[in-house]
């Protein structure tokens, strides 16, 4: 598995797209930090970008990498390798390459700004952690969808639809429900509904850390009330981890049974 991972990472780090993606984060963070001159505000802006954009890029990269390496996978399947090493190796390679662009693209401007001497390090680290989670979760989801669909246009469309649903439609539906049933106690429902969406979870992870109740929204407030900051952070992180483990397990299962 490590060999496939290393090779995938090597292939991706040489691709122009990884560098463009890295450059984008670099430019964004530099301009936000130096123009804003307020780390907390920059972290919030970055969070909003990260939650929507990182997941989208992970979905696009994940699907494209799978479909582009479809024939190469056949060559690998002819080698003495376990199937799981091929798929999980490639998946980890893509996720790691995306995470590297993110970590360096955000981290370098932060270091230049002198952020490592301020007390916002925990907030900033939480931002990075949430971004890495987004990468690993959405690449895994995209890889799953790609494995189920031989037709690349179909697979790609489903992946984008999934992203649209989780980042935009889910919150809209959630809000409509909350408004229509506002006469009923909805704390438990909203808690569960939030746990089912990795985008909301990442947002809450950062919000809990920043402790900005005004931006937390209804679910964030309920979350904080229910769990408190410490336990809340732990719960959110654990469920985010589950959002990685379950799709990766399915990747393993489906990868073993699929005909190529």
């Amino acid at each position: 598995m490590l060999k496939v991972l290393k090779y995938t990472l090597y292939d991706l780090l040489r691709s122009g797209w990884s560098w463009i993606y890295f450059g984008f984060y670099l430019l964004l963070t530099f301009s936000l930090l130096f123009l804003n001159n307020d780390v907390s505000k920059s972290v919030i802006t970055l969070m909003n970008v990260l939650v929507v954009l990182t997941s989208l890029i992970a979905v696009v990269f994940g699907s494209m990498y799978y479909y582009n390496s479809r024939e190469f996978i056949e060559l690998l399947l002819g080698q003495p390798l376990k199937r799981s090493s091929i798929f999980i190796g490639q998946y980890l390679g893509v996720s790691l390459s995306l995470s590297l662009s993110l970590l360096l693209g955000l981290g370098i401007p932060f270091a230049f700004y002198g952020g490592f001497n301020t007390e916002v390090i925990p907030d900033f680290s939480m931002l990075l952690l949430a971004g890495v989670f987004q990468n690993f979760i959405f690449t895994a989801l995209a890889y799953n969808l790609s494995l189920y669909h031989e037709n690349r246009i179909k697979g790609f469309s489903y992946a984008i639809l999934m992203w649209l649903f989780l980042t935009v439609l889910y919150d809209g539906l959630f809000l409509i429900l909350l408004m229509n049933y506002s006469a009923y106690p909805l704390e438990k429902f909203s808690l569960v509904a939030t746990l089912l969406n990795p985008v909301d979870l990442s947002r809450i992870l950062i919000m809990l850390q920043l402790d900005i109740s005004a931006l937390m929204g209804y679910t964030g407030a309920v979350f904080k009330q229910f769990f408190g900051t410490g336990l809340g952070l732990f719960t959110v992180a654990a469920i985010l981890l589950l959002w990685i483990i379950v799709p990766v397990w399915n990747l393993y299962r489906k990868g073993n049974n699929k005909d190529f």
């Binding site: 995938t8 691709s15 060559l75 376990k82």
Partner: protein, 235 residues
Amino acid sequence: MISFQNISKSFGKLQVLQRVNLNIETPGIYAILGPNGSGKTTLIKSFMGMVHPDAGDIIWQGKSVLKHWQYRENISYLPQIANFPKNVSVGELIQFIKNLRQKPSDETPFVSQFQLAPFLHKKLGNLSGGTKQKVNLLLAFMTDNPVVVLDEPTSGLDPAAMQVLKHILKSEKEKGKTILMTSHVMDFVEEISDEVVYLLEGKIHFCGTVDALKNQTQTQTIEMAIAQLIIKEHA
């Protein structure tokens, strides 16, 4: 040596292989022929563990190969479509496959025969289709394995490269290897193979030497023989 026993496979409603039985006893070059969609690729992919048969078993060296992967250490495989990661060079890909194989392998004779030396440092994304196929062939032949499985080895090759391929196949055969391949190019099959297997709609309609096929159908060339088989089947 390789024994396909009652192999059946369907993709949805499409029955691709129907209780196929095939025994490959002695080393030599075996060509699997048949029209598009007759199940040639599915048959060899079942042996490679890339397609899981619905029923039946495949035995190699006395053991079932189904659901295993270690046996592939001793099998070389050439996929039908040569498409590799775009951002790495030919040399790096060769090193990667060598690293995966963990067996003594030597690419140098094939680099010179296919005249690939100028391309070793080029990125795979910049190569032409024919050059990619040469790299594909090199990857399949560089490791010394007793069984070589080739899916359409001639696709995209120019006449010079075809000659090289024939030469390589002959010398590999002389080393006592078993070569299992699919092909559409009848002249090539006629010249190179010891035995042909004719597959139609998922069933084996003929299995034997090229001469036996010609005798059975009373024809001069393998192409005419195959045509005869198809006509007979639809009569």
